[in-house]
């Protein structure tokens, strides 16, 4: 076994009790959530009223958290693996959302075709955006990505012929269906996003532990040294941008059918920063880290929504907290929560 690389397919030492329990937990989480409903219903019969959130609501939060995990993993490819700061990741999320949403709501294309088309479109735009930015590094790359996402945001906000009316909505996106079975329940969405997430984790993990992933890390550590070792820097960077964009668009395609209506405010600049926060919190360059960061911030973002813990008049206090998290992390733990050293 000496010298054999971890290819991610060796399951022998992964079937620990901890992992099995975790797997079962993830698989039966909707049942657990609906179990809460059943318990509070049962208790209310005996006049005990627990103020528990409904299982459906909890499930929606979990679906969103999974979606953020998916997006964080996608962003991590550019930010963590190749070490470029992408401030416009939400642009690809937007492209995926509007591609799938418009295809389904306007042209009546079925979800199972619209989703792959959204991913392809996202990947295409990732490549298009990547081409002129290949030689940019650091701040300038960050600024171009930011400008790109903002331009897209302006377009969907202004072009009424495209997104329909003053509300700026693509509305009534039909739910996906197979042979007349309609998937519009929250637990459908749960397994749906879970499958997408597993797919994304698998692909990203395999890439990370392959020639490609090692090339990415080499580029991050020292671009010139990587180039002199014979790594085709432009090609690997372009690949990273494309894969990352495709994952973002996949998330967008999912959110289109999950939310039924999508509008411009979904894709504001701060959403990019929110996803970046997750990647940084978990530790850049680690898939596990991105997922943990997304789980924490995705659910924290929901808990800190105005009216729950924070009073309404402090509407956006959660963004204040995210800002402080970013500052403190960079100061005291630049490697994120999951990494031992910077």
């Amino acid at each position: 076994m000496e010298g054999q690389r971890d290819t991610g397919l060796n399951m022998k030492n992964k079937l620990t009790p901890k992992n099995i329990i975790l797997g079962l937990f993830v698989c039966f989480l909707p049942l657990l959530m609906y179990g809460i409903d059943a318990i509070s219903l049962f208790l209310s019969r005996s006049d005990i009223y627990l103020d528990l959130p409904s299982g459906d609501y909890m499930l929606r939060i979990i679906v969103r958290a999974y979606l953020y995990m998916l997006l964080a993993i996608g962003l991590n490819i550019v930010c963590g693996f190749t070490g470029q700061l992408d401030l416009g990741y939400v642009g690809f999320y937007l492209i995926g959302g509007y591609t799938a949403g418009l295809l389904m709501a306007r042209l009546g294309v079925t979800y199972w075709i619209a989703l792959p088309l959204a991913v392809v479109n996202g990947a295409l735009w990732g490549l298009l955006r990547g081409a002129p930015t290949l030689r940019l590094t650091g701040d300038y790359f960050a600024i171009v990505t930011f400008g790109f996402a903002e331009l897209l945001f302006r377009i969907v906000k202004n072009e009424e012929w495209l997104i329909g009316g003053p509300n700026g909505l693509v509305r009534d996106i039909p739910p996906p269906a197979i042979f007349g079975m309609i998937f519009n329940q929250n637990w459908h969405n749960y397994y749906h996003v879970l499958i997408l997430l597993i797919l994304v984790v698998f692909v990203t993990y395999r890439l990370q532990h392959s020639r490609v992933g090692r090339a990415w890390v080499a580029i991050r550590e020292d671009e010139q040294a990587a180039e002199s070792m014979g790594i085709n820097v432009s090609r690997y960077k372009a690949l990273a941008f494309t894969v990352s964009a495709a994952i973002g668009a996949l998330g967008g395609g999912f959110i289109a059918q999950f939310q039924v209506n999508i509008s411009a405010p979904f894709f504001e600049f701060w959403e990019s920063i929110f996803i970046l926060c997750m990647v940084v919190l978990g530790g850049m360059g680690s898939i596990r880290g991105s997922m943990i960061g997304a789980a924490i911030l995705g659910s924290l973002g929901e808990v800190l929504r105005p009216g729950f813990i924070i009073p309404y008049q402090f509407g956006n206090a959660r963004y204040l907290i995210f800002g402080i998290i970013l500052i403190l992390l960079m100061r005291f733990r630049p490697g994120g929560l999951t990494l031992r050293k910077a």
Binding site: G83, L85, L87, P132, T133, L136, T137, G138, D139, Y140, F141, A142, I143, V144, G147, F148, E150, L151, R154, I155, K157, N158, F269, W270, I273, L276, V280, Q313, F314, G315, N316, A317, Y319, L320, F322, G323, I324, I325, L326, I327, M330, R331, P334
Partner: protein, 298 residues
């Protein structure tokens, strides 16, 4: 014709304001190679602080203006001290993420304190210069408010003063030395951290003035720093980041382009024009219009 003339004047006013903000970005970038995202927020705080000083504490406008500048200068130095200084030797990415964090925190702090709604400077307490109805009549029927003349002249005077400060005084020399080579400057006995703090203070004070000017001619909102900040940053990039004269000219160009774009293309794409110019400059000529080509920047 009258409309054209008025558009040009509006463009110059906006350009002057962008120039005032852009020098803050460019000076800091010139010395520590950091895009200080929080600069837009300082600009916004400048407007809010002046507004509060006037409406809550009843301080006259001409005293509130310098007071707000001083407070913003202190705020700028504090941000540098707390957030950026500990990261001087950290990777550039960390400092950039911190800057975004500071910006996010300050913007939402403002939203919490002052709520998200638009606020106006109450017209009755403003000096006569800023009253909208006082205007010169130009041939052809165009009007030229005193306010616009004041803003353009103020921006011009401050820019010239800044230029003289950088080129003629001792602290200006220290700044230029730090921008060229911080380590060597330090070895020559220049206290680098002090110079950086002063740079932040000057940039923030100019940003505060710009904020108040926007406040009296438009309105004060928590997001103004973000929108105007990005456009001003585009101006800094256009002029060649790190180059103060370039930032001034870049500000004027972006301001005029934005006003004309809004007037003749579509008002929804106001900001898009600044973004497009910024992206085009970065991709085609990263050193900007006036920047010297340093080969490997950023």
């Amino acid at each position: 014709m009258a409309q054209f003339l008025e558009q040009i004047i509006n463009g110059l006013v906006l350009g002057g304001i962008y120039a005032l903000i852009a020098v803050g970005y460019t000076m800091v970038y010139g010395i520590i190679q950091l895009i200080n995202f929080a600069h837009g927020e300082i600009f916004m705080f400048g407007a809010y602080i002046a507004l509060m000083l006037i409406t809550v504490f009843g301080i006259p406008f001409w005293i509130a203006l310098p007071l707000s500048m001083v407070l913003c200068a202190i705020l700028g130095m504090l941000i540098d001290l707390i957030a950026y200084r500990p990261l001087r030797n950290a990777p550039r990415l960390s400092a950039l993420i911190t800057a975004i964090g500071v910006s996010l925190a300050l913007q939402n702090l403002a939203r919490m304190i002052w709520s998200a709604r638009d606020r106006q400077f109450p017209p009755e307490i403003l000096p006569t210069v800023f009253q909208g109805q006082n205007a010169f009549l130009l041939p052809g029927g165009a009007t030229l408010p005193y306010r616009d003349v004041f803003v353009i002249l103020l921006a011009l005077v401050l820019m010239i003063a800044l230029n003289r400060l950088i080129h003629l005084t001792k602290i200006g020399k220290a700044m230029r030395a730090c921008a060229q080579n911080p380590v060597a400057a330090n070895l020559m006995g220049i206290k680098t951290n002090q110079v950086i703090a002063i740079t932040f203070a000057i940039g923030s004070a100019l940003g505060a003035i710009a904020g108040i000017m926007v406040g009296v001619s438009e309105s004060v909102t928590p997001t103004m720093g973000y929108y105007k900040g990005v456009a001003a940053f585009a101006a800094a990039v256009l002029g060649g980041i790190g180059n103060v004269t370039g930032a001034m000219l870049g500000g004027i160009i972006i301001g005029v382009a934005e006003v004309f774009g809004a007037g003749y293309i579509s008002s929804g794409y106001r900001l898009a024009i600044a973004y497009i110019i910024m992206i085009a400059v970065i991709i085609i000529r990263p050193s900007g219009l006036f920047g010297r080509s340093t080969g490997h920047r950023a």
